[in-house]
């Protein structure tokens, strides 16, 4: 898996720090360390970039909306919709960062961040809202009749000093579609009700990955929603994608060692212009355009960088791409024992002959016995319990799954199962299987069992 590198005599980091005092530029070990730190923060921790090129229009739209809430006391609601990894959270964080640059807004605006995965209940959500608005002492032990009363009480308590208007509140609802599964959608109803009824300046921003999120809302909730949607469907072209890759890999201007940064950036530009690299990136672009998979690929390349290997070469990205695209089930098939492999081949033949109808252990064992009787096969004729144990191992690996039905009343040997593997995966696994006996290979490749 790992290409052996020539043993170069680079200094270790301990000796590096002693050399630091000598020259003006930093030693290579420390530069690499800084490089890793910077790029890892960008790729793994999703540090917000200074600007998002791809979603300028959406950025302006959302920023304008939130500014009107914060400054003019206007209530708004908006949904940001986009598939996973398209940059919804990044967009919101960018907008918030720009919004909070105004001093007035920073002083007055309150933020409540809720997540549908964590706040699974309206009661929990309300407690979280109370906590984030720092109103736990104010609420104390009060008992409220309904959700609406509670919410109104909270918003009243936020009135500014002169008791004229409430401070503007921004509600961010991550995984918005999960809130729609709560009982009666109380939280959504009340939040959107407040945003419509001009009691207090409230902005409700929902982030979701489901395009059909509006279908999930009840009629009364949908009518209170402003139907403003910001879509983040990725419209990147391949050249823009390449530019993204280059910008993700280049070091910013505030890197401590200027010379190293310039060297690195120019080598990255050369790297991105390489034909083989372009081919690999084209393949990734064709399978998915989102940032998450790109970050994973770049992270795999980045992890190979060290003093032994101080730059990214095309071989690195080729290896990383191979890891990303490797089929997990084929990898697991590689590790099966010969007996288990024979059972998988028997199941493949049953599927071919009976066109995917479910089978049980007796049928598979019968098919296997037919193979054993045929020629002088190299596989020993194992006892039924041993074959059953192999079959159960395959079931544990979820390569075969029981058909839904009452499994309690049928004996183990007669329980119907389906194979979760494709013929092509099995044939590929046979090619890669270490020291596969030829007769088993031929049996597997043949079309007729």
């Amino acid at each position: 898996m790992d290409v052996p590198y020539p043993a170069k005599s680079f200094q270790s980091r301990v000796i590096m720090s002693k050399r630091k005092a000598k020259g003006a530029s930093k030693p290579i070990g420390e530069c690499i360390s800084q490089l890793q730190k910077c790029l890892r923060e960008r790729l793994c921790h999703n540090r917000i970039p200074s600007q998002l090129e791809a979603s300028e229009a959406q950025h302006k739209h959302l920023l304008g909306l939130l500014q009107r809430t914060a400054n003019n006391g206007e209530s708004n609601s908006v949904l940001i919709i986009g598939p996973r990894g398209s940059g919804k959270t990044a967009l919101l964080k960018c907008v918030l960062r720009d919004l909070l640059q105004e001093k007035e807004v920073q002083k007055n605006l309150l933020q409540v961040h809720l997540n549908g995965l964590l706040q699974t209940d309206d009661r929990i959500a309300l407690k979280e809202i109370t906590r984030q608005l720092n109103l736990e002492n104010v609420v104390g032990d009060k008992v409220f009749g309904s959700f609406a009363e509670n919410l109104v009480f909270l918003l009243e308590a936020l009135k500014k000093g002169d008791r004229s208007t409430t401070r503007p509140v921004l509600f961010v609802l991550d995984e918005f579609d999960l809130f729609a599964h709560h009982k009666n959608q109380t939280l959504l109803y009340n939040l959107l009700d407040v945003s419509q009824s001009a009691q207090a300046p409230v902005a409700v921003v929902g982030l979701t990955c489901r395009l059909d999120v509006l279908e999930l809302l009840e009629k009364r909730v949908k009518s209170r929603f402003s139907h403003r949607q910001i879509h983040l469907l990725s419209t990147l072209s391949f050249t823009q994608y390449l530019e993204q890759v280059a910008s993700q890999l280049s070091l910013p201007d505030d890197f401590p060692d200027r010379e190293f940064a310039l060297d690195w950036n120019s080598s990255m530009r050369r790297f991105c212009e390489d034909k083989s690299v372009e081919g690999i990136l084209q393949r990734h672009f064709n399978s998915s355009k989102d940032f998450c998979s790109l970050h994973m690929l770049l992270m795999l390349c980045l992890s190979r960088i060290s003093t032994v290997n101080p730059t990214i070469k095309p071989a690195d990205i080729l290896e990383a791409s191979r890891l990303c695209f490797s089929d997990a089930k084929s990898n697991m098939l590689h590790g099966l024992s010969i007996l288990e492999l024979c059972l998988v081949i028997a199941m493949k033949h049953l599927n071919d002959v009976y066109e995917g109808e479910p089978f049980n252990f007796q049928m598979v064992h019968n098919e296997f016995k037919k193979f054993l009787q045929r020629k002088s096969s190299s596989v020993y004729n194992f006892e039924q319990p041993v074959v059953m144990k192999a079959f159960e191992h395959l079931q544990q690996l979820e390569l075969i799954r029981p058909v839904d039905g009452s499994s309690a009343k049928t004996q183990r040997e007669y329980q119907l199962m389906n194979l979760a593997l494709d013929s092509s995966q099995i044939i590929e696994a046979l090619h890669k299987y270490p020291q596969c006996p030829t007769d088993i290979k031929q049996w597997g490749m043949s079309a007729f069992g």
Binding site: F10, K37, R84, T89, P385, E398, E413, P434
Partner: protein, 452 residues
């Protein structure tokens, strides 16, 4: 302290931030897994740098996943919480263990009685702000496939825990299954999949040879492992099972040497001695029919007192006379189609056209499809024709049927409420019924449709 060079994937130049001495200790404890350990270390990076939010490590059983991760985290002294999801029947136990390992007892004590995910994240953030991470924290979840069946959102939250708690945290999920079976409906953050390949035969040999007995030579043990792998490798590649089998059978292997009947170099003699023993082990200890204690006791007794009684042997109960015939009748009712009863059980059935009984394709062989349910009346009809003497339909016959159901030799298919037309299925194997019918001198093969 050995002075052998570190294998290339674990060299100190590749992993600055970790001491050479510690890396050497890691390399010693992880034979044949240097590449995977090196890959994991390079993804982890230096302790204070960020790493991926979630890494999904998958591979067969006993391929070293937990072992490598635990050795790395312990030797390099990184803050971690290792939890086996099999121990956490509720999510609350998982939260408690994570907080206990990462922040100490008082953090775990602040968890409320029935903590929700919201509580867990809130408390984590609170403690994180008090004790920010100077090094990456690791949460290791073994048997992660059990997380799918726990709380609905638990898996989705765990893969993006780094983002939710805003801490330098990496979650490692270890599992035997592939990620495709884990993915929730609306998707989630995809972790980086890292495959731990199975050991090759040579690697298994190398690892198993490490357990050698000190009083015998390494060559003897190596030849023993070679023989063991020759027999068991085709069936099982699980390192744990092979180690268990190797440990159990070594004394028997060395018997000729200790008794002076053979020298260490007489491989053929030793092989002849151990080979039938290992074959028997495959049918008993490997299948857990016999416990390892019984196996060892058996080895000490020289003469065999008959065939080894495993656990399955105990299912062969001695039944009363009529119960045996009831069981035989049930088997015939389950595996013969109803239309053929006339041919088998009526004395003068006349000429039956042969075309009716042509065997179609093999799939319809009832022994492949499984037993079919039959009503009580049919069972009794067959029973009366199979038993030679005249039997009165008394309550004792019916109660024998109920006791067969209790013994799980028959299963009741119809609902318990239906008293007037109960249906049953026969749940015994062909070998069992042949053994039973031999004891009453009944030739069951003659009466089975599939063997016409």
């Amino acid at each position: 302290m050995s002075s052998s060079p570190l294998p290339p994937p674990l060299q100190q130049q590749r992993h600055p931030g970790y001491e050479e001495e510690r890396l050497r200790r890691v390399a010693e404890q992880l034979p044949c897994r240097e590449v995977q350990a090196g890959m994991l270390l390079s993804l982890m990076g230096e302790p204070q740098q960020y790493s991926l939010p979630c890494i999904f490590i998958y591979g067969h059983r006993a391929s070293g996943k937990s072992y490598v991760v635990n050795v790395l985290l312990k030797e390099l002294e990184l803050p971690h919480a290792t939890i086996s999801c099999a121990e956490c029947i509720t999510a609350a136990l998982l939260f408690e263990q994570v907080l206990l390992a990462l922040f100490g007892g008082d953090a775990a004590a602040t968890l409320p009685r029935y903590p929700s995910l919201s509580d867990f994240v809130r408390i984590y953030r609170h403690h994180r702000s008090r004790a920010p991470a100077e090094q990456t924290r690791y949460i290791v979840l073994e048997k992660a496939e059990l997380l799918r069946d726990m709380d609905a959102n638990l898996l989705s939250v765990l893969v993006r825990l780094q983002e939710l708690v805003e801490d330098n945290l990496t979650v490692l999920l270890l599992s035997e299954l592939v990620w495709d079976t884990f993915r929730p409906n609306t998707g989630c953050l995809e972790p980086l999949p890292l495959h731990f390949p199975d050991y090759t035969k040579a690697e298994l040999h190398q690892i198993l040879s490490r357990d050698r007995h000190p009083s015998y030579s390494a060559d003897l043990y190596a030849s023993y492992i070679h023989i063991l792998l020759g027999i068991f490798y085709a069936v099982c590649r699980d390192l744990r099972e092979l180690r268990h089998l190797a440990a159990l059978n070594f004394t028997k292997f060395c018997e000729p040497v200790t008794e002076g009947k053979a020298k260490e170099s007489d491989t053929h003699k030793l092989w002849r001695n151990i080979e039938p023993h290992l074959k028997k082990a495959m049918q008993t200890v490997y299948l857990r029919e016999v416990s390892s204690l019984e196996w060892e006791k058996m080895q000490q007794v020289e003469t065999e007192t008959g065939p080894l009684r495993g656990l399955s042997a105990h299912t062969h109960v001695e039944l009363p006379f009529y119960s045996k015939f009831l069981l035989i009748a049930a088997y015939l009712a389950s595996y013969n189609p109803a239309r053929t009863d006339k041919r088998f059980f009526v004395k003068h059935h006349g000429k039956i056209k042969k075309t009716k009984f042509l065997k179609k394709n093999e799939k319809t062989s009832n022994h492949l499809l499984g037993p079919k349910p039959f009503p009580l009346d049919r069972l009794l009809a067959i029973f009366y024709s199979v038993v030679d003497s005249r039997v009165a339909p008394t309550a004792s016959i019916f109660s024998q049927i109920s006791s067969l159901v209790t013994l799980q030799l028959l299963t009741q298919v119809s609902h318990v409420d239906q008293l007037d037309a109960p249906k049953y299925k026969c749940a015994v194997s062909m070998d069992f019924i042949c053994a039973v019918s031999r004891t009453v001198n009944f030739d069951i093969i003659k009466y089975l449709y599939d063997f016409l």
